[in-house]
Structure formats: C-alpha cells, structure tokens
Amino acid sequence: MRNGPEWLRRHPGFAYGLLAALLAVLPFIVGAGLGKGWVRVLDFALLYTMLALGLNIVVGYAGLLDLGYIAFYALGAYLFAWLSSPQFGLHLPFWLVLPLGAMLAGSFGALLGAPTLRLRGDYLAIVTLGFGEIIRIFMNNLDQPVNITNGPQGINLIDPISIGGFSLGTPHTLLGVHVFPPTLYYYLFLAFTLFTIFVAMRLQDSRIGRAWAAIREDEIAAAAMGINTRNVKLLAFAMGATFGGLAGGLFAAFQGFISPESFNLMESVMILCMIVLGGMGNIPGVILGAVLLTVLPEALRYLGDWQRAALGHVVVDPNDLRMLVFGLAMVAMMLFRPAGFLPSRQRRREFRAEDGVAEQEQASLYDAQA
C-alpha cells in the first residue's frame, strides 16, 4: 500500500476491504479474461506463496540456507496420497490427513536440523540439498520390494478435498453461478495462504522471531544473550517444514496425482529464488516473488503469439524459448534490484552465511551501499 494513493493510505480499512473484494472475485475475472487455465495458475501461485513463506522462516528469519525444502512438500504430498487414495485403500478425511502431513514434515524438519546444527552457510546448503535428493530418490525407488510410493509412475486417483460432503473436485452451481474445481480450490488455498501469512507475521514479531533474527545476525552473540540456539534453530527448521508439508497435502489433493518428478532440486531452488527476488525476510516481498515466478513462466507461453504479432510468423518454438527468456528475466531482475523487489526495511543487510572479520567489514560496506 505504500505506493497507493494518499487517500487509501489514510483509510487502511477501506484499502483492506478493496483488497479482500478483489481477491474474492479474482478467479472469475481471471477465468473470464484469460481463460480457465489461468485459474489453475492462480492456485499454484497461492501454493507457492505458502511454500515461499514457509522457507522464508528458515532462510529469511533464521538465516539458514536450505536447498532441500521441497522434500517437506513431497512428504506432505505423499502422506496425503498414502492415506487418501487407492494406493493402500485408505480414504481418510482431509482434516485428519493435512495436519498429519504437516506434522510428518515438521518432524522430518527437526530430524534434518539436528545433525546440521554445527554447519554454516554453504555447508548447510549442501547437506539440505543432499537430504532433498535422498527423499526424492527414495520416492522414486520405493516401489520394490514393497510397493510404497509406486516409483516413478507416482500415485494416482488421490481423493479431492471434501468438506462435509461438498467435494471440491467436481463442478458445482452455487447461487446460479457455475463454479469449477480450480475456483473452489482457489478459495481453500486462499484461506490457507491467509493463515500462513498471519502465522508468519505473528512469528516475525514474536520472542522466537527476534531470537531467529539474533542468531541470523550473530549466533555467538545470540547464545551469549541467553538464546538456546539449538532449540531455536530446530524450531525454525520444523516450523518451515510444517508449512511445506501442509502445502504438499493441498497440492496432492488438488492435483489428484503426484510423482517424484514434481519434487526435484530445481523446485527447491525456485522457491529460494522467489524469496530472494521478492525481498528476503519481508512478507509482502516474498508473496510478490512467489506470484511473479509462478506467473512469469506461464505468461511466457504467449511468446509464440507475440512473435506472430511482431514478426508475422513464429521464428522459434515458444516452448523452447520460454525458459530461456525466464532465465534472462531472472538475471535481469536481480541485477536491477539486488536486494529484491521489496527488501525488508529493518534489515537491508543480507544474512551472512559465515562470520569473520572480513565478512564483518564487507557487511559494513553493504550497509553503506544500502
């Protein structure tokens, strides 16, 4: 809202009302204006917002570089699939399975955190990356000797979320309006995203949030101030992972199908990119980053149309060109805004992976620049 008109700034209630109304009708506007496929993109933007906010707890708040975050998303998704699909013949309700998935992911988060407490910066990054790969490889191969994950084929026919007999997986006519599943899921995801934003905001300003900021800035000083760095770090991993698991469960129900392909290293890296590009540690920035990096690759599908409009014919297959342009855009955006689009105000300083006199000197240089 900072760049909004003066009047809106002086009436925040009205501004939030406007935002709420916009979010409420967004899937209908997008569906009518851009096509139904774009409602799915909206859904994914919300899922990635949840993931980015979750990872932001680990990376942005606590300053722990995690490159295996997608593993928690995978755990949540697979747990949902195991307990709510024909894979094991179980069809438990979502209000039971989602929390279980979040808890499973959270405990794995603590499990990953425990051996990595002594590691810093890039060493931590490589261990988390290895952890993510290990989970993915297990998902890929645990179809024998006992079929648990169904291997590379993945798990199919996952139950859609159904609230009191009202299934989100089938179209409905509500108040004379035809509503199809992606729109229904949009509202569910929106609710969960708002919940995530609320928790993330409250965490940031809490005692724990300040402890995270302290260990991020200087772990030894934080310990000297009486912060139990071990527990606080483990809590960051566990909290971040919990949101990953929650989003994973939602993803499984929404998609109806999951396979190890969806949980590769590049996904972890993309979520990290969302955070850094948007503005690490700053909630509006993280949301912006998540939405931007979800929508951009989809928007670039129109490259073929743009080529036709500009040159009269398609020179390069847009599917081949899409990710190339996406990569260029990522580089350009980062060069244009090195601290992210909306850097956090209290902390323009980036987190430092290692401490040392040289780093301290560099940090003061960064500060002078910022």
Partner: protein
C-alpha cells in the same frame, strides 16, 4: 575382490572428472565466496562445442588426432569466453549486493545456458563418435581401458599444472592474496578484477576438458548433463572443504570412489533391499556424515566459528 578393484578403477575415473569440475567451483568460491551454480552448464557447453567440431570435421575426412586437438581447443576457448562473460554480466555488478543475489543470477544463467543449448543442439542425446582407441588392459583383475587411463592421466597432469600455477606464479600469488582479502590485495597493487576474471577463465577451461571427458566416457552428450555433474562436483568441493584446491581434488576422487563402491556393494550391504539405483543416496549419506563430523569439510582450514 575383482569387483572391488574394478569399482575402484571406475570410481577413480569418475572421481578425477568430478575433481576437475570441483576445482572450478572451489577456485571461484575461494575468491568470491560465491557458489557458481552455472559451472556445471559450462561443462555441458564444453562437451557440446567439442562435438559440434568433431562431427563435421570427421565427416570432412581430417585425421582423428587433429580433429580431437581442434575440438579440445575450440571447447576450451568457447568455455573460457563463456566463463569470462558470465562473470562480467551476472556476478560483477552484484559484488557488493546481498550474498544470495549472485546465487540467484547464477541459477538464472544456468537456466539460460541449458535452454540455449537445447535450442542450438536439440533435446535429444548426441552420441560421441567412436574415434578413441578402445584397447583394454588387465590390471589386478580389473579391466582398465585406454580411455580411462587417459582421463586419469590427463586429470593428474592438469591438477599438477594448476597447483604449480597457484603456488609458484605471479598470477597464483595474486589469486591467493585476493582470496585472503580482496581489499588488502587491492592495496598491494593487485588488479582484483583481472584476478577474478582469470579465475573464471581457468575454471571454465578445466570444465571444458571435464565436459569432453564425460561425453567421451559415456559416449553421450545432452543439454541437461551439466546439472547433475555440477551438483556432484559441488558436493565434492564441499566434501573436501570448499575454497581449498587440494580439498577439491581429494573430494572429487573420494566422491567418485564412494559412488562406484556404493553402486557395487549397496545391494549386498542391505541384503538386496536397496539396489544400485540408490548409489546417489549412498554418496549423499557419506557426504552428510562427513560434514556432521567435520563441519568445514575434510581439508577445510577455515574455522566455521569466529574465535
């Protein structure tokens, strides 16, 4: 025992390739504290350029040795130019930016290179023509091919050369000084920008050679091949202690051997429950275990915590 020696040989061959790529990661990290995520893709470009030279020139009937020489020269030159360009465009403007910013541009560059390669050379596998000698020798019960011997031999030569460069030459001294403190090196009259460019250029040349080795060894090149190779090499650099040249060499060789032995023995170790498709799990497990007990890698000198 035969399997053991054989896997050891395979591991050493793979490991010396990892070591070459890992050196590129570790040199850049030592000086800039930056994970050059695009380094794996430079390796891939090296392999692709070499093949783009080999295939038409062979068709033109040139002698094999000359073709190979030209291919290596072309790949090394292309990768040097690429490494220099990447640093100038994607990293230099961000030298004073927050620490993670250049990591993101590195990932962006990596995506760009992958997709550019896909546009230029297509989505399919490109096979390496069977022009290399295919002789094989029996050593301690293991079969060692000529190509494997060439890969290990050439890697060792390059590593010795690099060590000489860093330890004995003027440029090497400037590199070490810059790695210790950029500001002080600058005050001592070192042109830091030149040193950083040189680091990228040398690392990329090593990557080009490693790329050719990989594609010759497996007989294939693919636009996606750099990703996994880069990942493994980066893991190797961290295993050895990132920023440390000897560490990268040791880490590369160790990772290669661990992987090969893992692939050979993991079935027996787990009573057939886990097959050789878990070799990466095995490699990452060892990596994690090592880092848990030695948080700065095997040869990492820098202490993680401030004294």
């Amino acid at each position: 025992m035969d399997i053991f020696v054989q896997q050891l040989v395979n591991g050493l061959v793979l490991g010396s390739i990892y070591a070459l790529v890992a050196l590129g990661y570790t040199m850049v990290y030592g000086i800039l504290e930056l994970i050059n995520f695009a380094h794996g893709e430079v390796t891939m470009i090296g392999a692709m350029v070499a093949l783009a030279v080999i295939v038409p020139l062979l068709g033109a009937g040139l002698p094999v040795a000359l073709v190979l020489l030209l291919a290596i020269l072309a790949a090394v030159a292309a990768c040097m130019a690429l490494g220099y360009t990447i640093e100038r465009i994607a990293y230099r403007p961000l030298r004073r930016a927050p620490r993670l910013a250049p990591l993101i541009t590195a990932i962006g560059v990596s995506i760009v290179l992958q997709n550019a390669a896909m546009l230029i050379w297509g989505r399919g596998y490109i096979s390496f023509p069977p022009i290399l000698p295919e002789g094989a020798h029996q050593i301690l019960g293991a079969v060692v091919t000529d190509l494997q011997m060439v890969i290990v031999g050439l890697s060792v030569l390059i590593m010795i050369g690099l060590t000489f460069l860093v330890e004995r030459t003027r440029l090497g001294r400037a590199m070490r000084a810059t790695a210790q403190s950029r500001e002080v090196a600058e005050l001592m009259g070192v042109n830091v920008n030149t040193v950083i460019s040189a680091t990228f250029i040398i690392g990329s040349a090593l990557a080009a050679i490693a790329g050719i080795m990989v594609s010759a060894y497996y007989g294939l090149a693919h636009y996606y091949m750099g990703f996994m190779l880069g990942l493994k090499a980066f893991s190797a650099a961290v295993l050895g202690g990132i920023g440390n040249l000897a560490g990268a060499m040791l880490g590369g060789l160790l990772l290669g051997v661990i992987e090969a032995l893992g692939a050979g023995y993991i079935g027996d170790l787990t009573g057939g429950f886990l097959g050789s498709n878990y070799q990466d799990v095995f490699a990452f497990m060892v990596l994690i275990m090592v880092l848990v007990f030695r948080p700065s890698g095997l040869l990492g000198e820098r202490v993680a915590q401030r004294a």
